[in-house]
Point group: C2
Chain length 267, copies 2
């Protein structure tokens, strides 16, 4: 399994003025084309493995489908020359708005482009998350070590982001790695979709890096009540979490952390 997720390359290892040729593992990155009903809708650059989860998660977190059950099946294309094309089949009667996939191109509205329009788009028509889960600080302090312990490939390559899903006692349900931060979250959401755990009621989504708006957007689509991170959130990530009723915990390091939104779920 690991053999798919990293490549071994030759490189010069320098220390001071000396160097030697040696082998090193680097995280594997390959394009993945996602098709719906035969139509290519997106290409993501991802670490191979967990491709079905990635596609299921992507379709949910990008709001291509309204519910995880709208996706009947996801499989590698039988007629493709290699493994980098996945085909999603929608459930009977489900239609999707493929224009939503063009996330780099918002429709220009009369009010222009601003944080407010971004947040409205991220929330879709969903109400704020009302989950009443409450997690002790000790549980949150323990998450980074548990996430790191489950990262199989990071230790070999130093080059992978991670996302993990934990229950309210801090027990890990799933951890996934990817060269892309967004993909790691999508793989977790796709895993949860296949396990029948969406919406992510009473669960904690933890990411290894920073929290951008797009990470919050994906967490909101999966209805995660708590998003925790090792690093900092952006201003728009905080604004979107507050609007969406989601808790954001940043800088979880040792016995310290900062709660930027939804403080009522912590302590």
């Amino acid at each position: 399994m690991d053999g798919e997720r990293f490549d071994v390359v030759e490189r010069d290892e320098w220390r001071g003025a000396a160097h030697q040729r040696a082998e090193d593992a680097v995280a594997r990155e390959e394009p993945l084309e996602i098709r719906i009903g035969g139509v290519p809708v997106a290409v993501v650059m991802r670490t191979p493995g967990d491709d079905e989860e990635l596609v299921r998660g992507f379709l949910v977190t990008e709001r291509v489908v309204d519910r995880a059950e709208d996706v009947a099946s996801v499989r590698h294309c039988a007629d493709a020359a290699e493994d980098n094309v996945m085909q999603a089949v929608l459930a009977r009667g489900v239609e999707v708005d493929l224009a939503r996939l063009r996330r780099n191109l918002y429709a220009s509205s009369s009010c222009g482009v601003c944080g407010k329009t971004s947040i409205a788009a991220a929330m879709g028509c969903a109400p704020p998350i009302a989950d009443n889960v409450r997690v002790p600080s000790d549980v949150l302090y323990g998450l980074p070590a548990r996430l790191r312990a489950a990262q199989e490939v990071f230790g070999r390559t130093g080059g992978l982001h991670a996302a993990g899903l934990f229950d309210e006692r801090g027990e890990p349900l799933a951890v996934r790695e990817d060269v892309g931060r967004h993909n790691a979250v999508d793989k977790i959401v796709g895993w949860a979709a296949a396990a029948g755990l969406l919406p992510l009621s009473r669960r904690i989504l933890m990411v290894s890096g920073r929290v951008s708006f797009e990470i919050v957007q994906k967490a909101l689509a999966a209805r995660a009540p708590i998003l925790a991170a090792v690093s900092a959130p952006s201003s728009l990530a905080v604004d979107a979490a507050r609007a969406g009723g989601m808790t954001i915990v940043g800088f979880v390091r040792g016995e310290r952390m900062c709660v930027y939104a939804g403080a009522e779920r912590v302590g």
Copy 2:
């Protein structure tokens, strides 16, 4: 200037079992819509400031234009309600292929989707970089500290990526910060475009994080002979750099580093 790049928010700061309400600076993130001749072509989530550089760089590194001189002007839209719309005007006689902007959606070719097709797309029709610059290891060892010293906002927020352009003696020419790794590189390339420094002959592009395929793709479009990073490259980043004749130096930390491609330019 800094006032535009971070917001001050209230959050709960936890230490052990105690917490207190306090103010904190978070990196600002806002959408920016890019228009060409009045047509919206992309929205990027970026840290405000250096917007003109960001747009000029984006148009070059995404290969929307062939040369920096193809962009006659970039300015904020006079008729937009706020500051998040930039309008690029092309030089007389220049036409662009707007379909190239849909970078999430590759054209499916008969050979399918794979690393090779990605690398071919990243290189455009350009030959491999033949720049004969050679940089001593000591110069490369010194870059992370110089990049960090020039990061104005990171120290306050811990939430910004950085990219810097250095000459072959390690002197910084420009450093830019952004919530997005790609944007930081685009701002540097846009700065270089405005300064008449494209292609990036004999210069070193340094990034604060990891090196993904897309970062190499952007560096190749700017014709950077050397790309250095604090963290790891991905497999496809290494493959693309080797195909494009670009040097990749990763894990530049203290007096250590790893050279993954183009070793002839180091030492």
